[in-house]
């Protein structure tokens, strides 16, 4: 993780924002010199125009909005993502801003672009023509437990022993069975995950794995892929999904902007610790 740039936005203003005031919501930064519009798809459900605010060769993709704190609801997140999707379709490679990023005015937005110009240029160059794909892989825990209990000699024997001696089987033996099963599950999951990564590695530039969500998921990953390699990556995902048909279920999404590979966020000056 690296910190490549800092910028200072305008000095504090004692006024507190009220919902009637309007501000500028920023979705992403793109490389673009001519004014662009992306349709009436702005966040907030008012059908605000999405357009660009420029500084040199950079542009912020923005829409007008009431000055409110946007809750991370699915509706809002989808609106934010949809704007980024549209700009990908238009051929841009947006570098996404954190969800909920607001400025008071267009002038403030331009100042942000100006102050952060070098760092923004840097990531835009790094991310040029690169897209993100998401992959979540689930397994059926019960099915795998049954498999493990059938195939793992030690576990099978211990289980038989416990069920034969219902009364006398110790707490310890049950604990041990639990531990062994957990270990066998973890080993199996690791092997699947390794194999999947191995298969996709060549077609991707980089990958990031996040903590699996819930107890069915064994892999939650994002892959950074060159735009012209997207078809190859697609094919690789289809192949590995076929290999594990009936055992693992794959949820494959994208193309996304590189949400998991670039983070542009604003930090309050007073809490800044660098």
């Amino acid at each position: 993780m690296e910190t490549t740039g800092t910028a200072v936005s305008p000095a504090p203003n004692p006024q507190t924002p009220t919902p009637e005031e309007t501000g500028i919501y920023v979705y992403s930064i793109i490389e673009c010199t001519e004014p662009c519009t992306f349709g009436k798809i702005g966040i907030g459900g008012r059908g605000d125009d999405v357009y660009t605010v420029h500084y040199k060769d950079l542009a912020a993709v923005v829409s007008r909005t009431p000055l409110v704190v946007y809750d991370p609801t699915r509706e809002n997140a989808l609106a934010h993502e949809h704007v980024n999707e549209v700009s990908i379709e238009e051929g841009f490679t947006p570098v996404p801003m954190s969800f909920g990023t607001l400025f008071r005015t267009e002038k403030d937005t331009v100042e942000f672009l100006e102050d952060t110009y070098d760092a923004l240029r840097d990531v835009l160059v790094k991310m040029k023509d690169k897209l993100e794909f998401g992959l979540k892989v689930n397994w059926s825990r019960e099915q795998v437990i049954a498999e493990v209990e059938r195939d793992n000699e030690d576990i099978r024997r211990l289980k038989e022993e416990i069920s034969k001696n219902q009364q006398s089987s110790t707490y310890f033996a049950r604990m041990q069975l639990g531990r062994m099963t957990e270990q066998a599950l973890a080993d199996k999951s690791d092997a699947y995950v390794r194999d999947i990564y191995e298969h996709l590695r060549e077609a991707a530039i980089a990958s990031r794995s996040t903590k699996p969500i819930g107890d069915k998921m064994i892999l939650n990953a994002a892959f950074l892929v060159q735009r012209d390699k997207a078809d190859t990556f697609d094919q690789k995902v289809q192949e590995i999904a076929q290999r594990y048909e009936g055992v693992l279920s794959f949820r494959y999404t994208g193309p996304w902007p590189p949400y998991n590979f670039v983070k542009i966020r604003l930090q309050l000056e007073r809490s800044a610790v660098v």
Binding site: A206, R251, Q267
Partner: protein
């Protein structure tokens, strides 16, 4: 001093020890309740449950609304807006590129 403390321990433990434990439980509950990252984690889980078909749209909407109310409550208690939305504060932009080159 140490000896005296040790000697008095059995007597003082039931009361202050209990208080200590209760305080810890309360702190943990507060942390859970007032930690936005806990709410965000639950939100992610909710998304996945909806995508997997474990819950329907109605249940999703209801539980999402509960989580949003909790987030707003946390914001009200800490009196802190997320930096992304605090348009009048002095803010600095942080650009990070977490990357696992293969």
């Amino acid at each position: 001093m140490v000896l005296l403390k040790l000697l008095s321990l059995p007597i003082s433990l039931p009361v202050s020890g209990m208080k200590f434990v209760l305080q810890q439980v309360a702190d943990l509950a507060d942390q859970e309740l007032y930690d936005p990252s806990v709410v965000h984690e639950q939100l992610l889980l909710l998304h996945v449950q909806l995508e997997d078909g474990d819950i329907d749209e109605d249940e999703y909407a209801q539980r999402e609304a509960e989580l949003m109310a909790r987030l707003r409550d946390i914001r009200a208690r800490t009196q802190q807006e997320p930096a992304e939305a605090d348009v009048d504060a002095r803010r600095r932009a942080i650009v990070e590129t977490p990357f696992d080159e293969q």
